[in-house]
């Protein structure tokens, strides 16, 4: 499971890649191998997108700029 790559796919990208997978499967006469590969990729996207959607961010954070111009996020009391 390439966790790293999926982290880099935004929810939006996951959704559009899933859309694309579905329409390719629906519209194209694909060789079985390719269809299975696409199907698996689609399932992975769907699961990841759903997970992303239902995850909850518990904390509201505060944006703090340090004197050196770096940014830090602090938890908001």
């Amino acid at each position: 499971m390439p966790k790293k790559e999926e982290k880099e796919k935004s929810f939006e990208q996951l959704c559009s890649s899933l859309e694309e997978t579905v329409s390719r499967l629906e519209d194209e006469q694909l060789p079985l191998e390719e269809a299975i590969r696409l199907f698996n990729a689609g399932v992975a996207d769907a699961i990841e997108a759903r997970k992303r959607l239902l995850a909850s961010e518990e904390k509201v954070q505060k944006l703090v700029e340090t004197l050196e111009g770096r940014f830090e996020l602090h938890d908001l009391e």
Binding site: S10, F11, E12, C15, L18, E19, T21, V22, L25, E26, L30, L32, A35, I36, L38, F39, G42, V43, A46, A49, R50, R52, L53, L54, A55, S56, E57, V60, Q61, K62, L63, E65, G69, F71, L73, L76
Partner: protein, 409 residues
């Protein structure tokens, strides 16, 4: 008893010095009356309240900056110096600045800035950006203690629990508020982690909302690389920030609704997509299954027998056709052969002799075709249909006489 008698000028000068020396530049508020805009460009009027009046003069070089026409009855704030005009013994206010009093003053500044920024193109519809459909992180610029931040956060969390919320705190009213709001917006721009910003505060008086009408805030929003939703006060309040923002929300809660989609709706969409995926994906799979089934059926014994029978039948039919074809061609050959035979036998010299012709040959076996090639006394053998004759030539008649051809002619 030395009685000091002032001259008018003297007294007036002393009064002038006294008055002008004891009042620094000041603001005075009152209602305009007796307003005159002189041909010279100077304005003369009185400021009065219920029980007093003050003469005022507003010279051209100062009044040129006015964006409105003063009229009798307007409540005004005038800034200026008290002075005494000796020729008429009048004390008056030398006005350097005139503003509508109270909310009117703010309103005026608002209109002025709005006109200037509009002319610069800060409010152009064309530069308003669409908001991201699925922001991962929402940035908020507001007071960390007000109702607005609580409203925004609760709406965001209800709609889309997975969204990250980052607040850049700023005071939203009072001295220095505009600078803090602008700085917070710019900080988000430099940080780059937020996908959309909500900049605002809850409702309040016009003065409370004033920070959002300041140029610093307008510029910061205009320069923001991140799309901005403004949310200042309630439904009816429009601020400069609202005009510059990519989207204006009537309230902070509404801004939060614009900022993020409803996760539950998205999830329904995802589930539907998932179903389509399964349906679409099972298509090729079931096609493959079907093909396999067909192959399997094709290999079943009874199918095999049938196939064999079909094969045999086809084979038999072919054989039959082959036979027929062969016979046909033999027949043809036979017909052609007999024709050939006839033609051949017609050419057979024996058959010619049978019809009564004879063939004369020299002793060397050369067939004689021309009488001119034969000499008198020469021996010839004459071949008949049956047997032959040895002859000696008695006479030679050259061509042209007594030939078959001439006789026929």
């Amino acid at each position: 008893m030395d009685l000091h008698v002032y001259s008018v000028s003297e007294l007036t000068r002393e009064v002038k010095e006294l008055i002008e020396g004891s009042f620094p530049p000041l603001w005075v508020e009152g209602e305009i009356s007796n307003f005159v805009h002189h041909g010279s460009g100077h304005m003369y009027f009185s400021l009065k309240d219920s029980s007093a009046a003050l003469r005022a003069v507003f010279f051209r070089q100062y009044n040129q900056a006015l964006t409105f026409r003063p009229e009798n009855g307007m409540k005004m704030m005038a800034r200026g110096l008290l002075s005494v005009y000796e020729p008429s013994g009048q004390y008056q206010l030398m006005v350097s600045e005139l503003r509508p009093a109270g909310v009117g003053a703010l309103q005026l500044a608002f209109e002025r800035l709005k006109a200037r920024l509009a002319a610069e193109g800060l409010f152009d519809e064309a530069r308003k950006r669409p908001l991201p459909q699925f922001p991962a992180c929402v940035g908020i610029v507001t007071s960390p203690t007000g109702a607005a931040v609580r409203d925004i956060i609760s709406v965001l969390e209800r709609r889309c629990p997975s969204v990250r919320i980052v607040l850049a705190p700023a005071r939203v009213q009072g001295e220095g508020a505009a600078a803090e709001i602008a700085a917070a917006v710019r900080a988000f721009g430099r940080w780059g982690g937020a996908d959309v910003l909500i900049v605002g505060r809850g409702g309040g008086s016009a003065e409370d909302l004033w920070a959002f009408n300041e140029e610093a805030v307008a510029r910061a929003i205009f320069d923001s690389p991140v799309p901005v939703i403004s949310a200042v006060g309630h439904q009816t309040d429009f601020t400069i920030a609202d005009f510059v923002a990519d989207l204006r929300a009537p309230t902070p809660s509404a801004a939060a609704e614009y900022a993020v989609p409803v996760a539950a709706e998205l999830e329904a969409g995802l589930v539907a997509l998932g179903r389509r995926l399964v349906r679409a994906g099972s298509g090729p799979l079931s096609d493959a299954h079907q093909r396999l089934d067909e192959l399997e059926r094709a290999l079943a014994p009874q199918r095999l027998r049938a196939a064999l029978r079909a094969c045999r039948d086809r084979h038999a039919a072919l054989a039959l056709r082959l036979q027929r074809a062969a016979r046909h061609s033999l027949d043809l050959a036979r017909v052609r052969w007999s024709g050939f035979q006839e033609r051949l036998s017609a050419l057979n010299p024996a058959a010619v002799l049978g019809r009564g012709y004879a063939m004369a040959r020299t002793p060397e076996g050369r067939i004689v075709r021309d009488a001119a090639t034969v000499e008198v006394g020469q021996r010839l053998s004459v071949l008949l249909a049956r047997g032959s004759l040895d002859c000696r030539v008695e006479g030679v008649n050259p061509a042209g006489e007594d030939t078959l051809a001439s006789k026929a002619g």
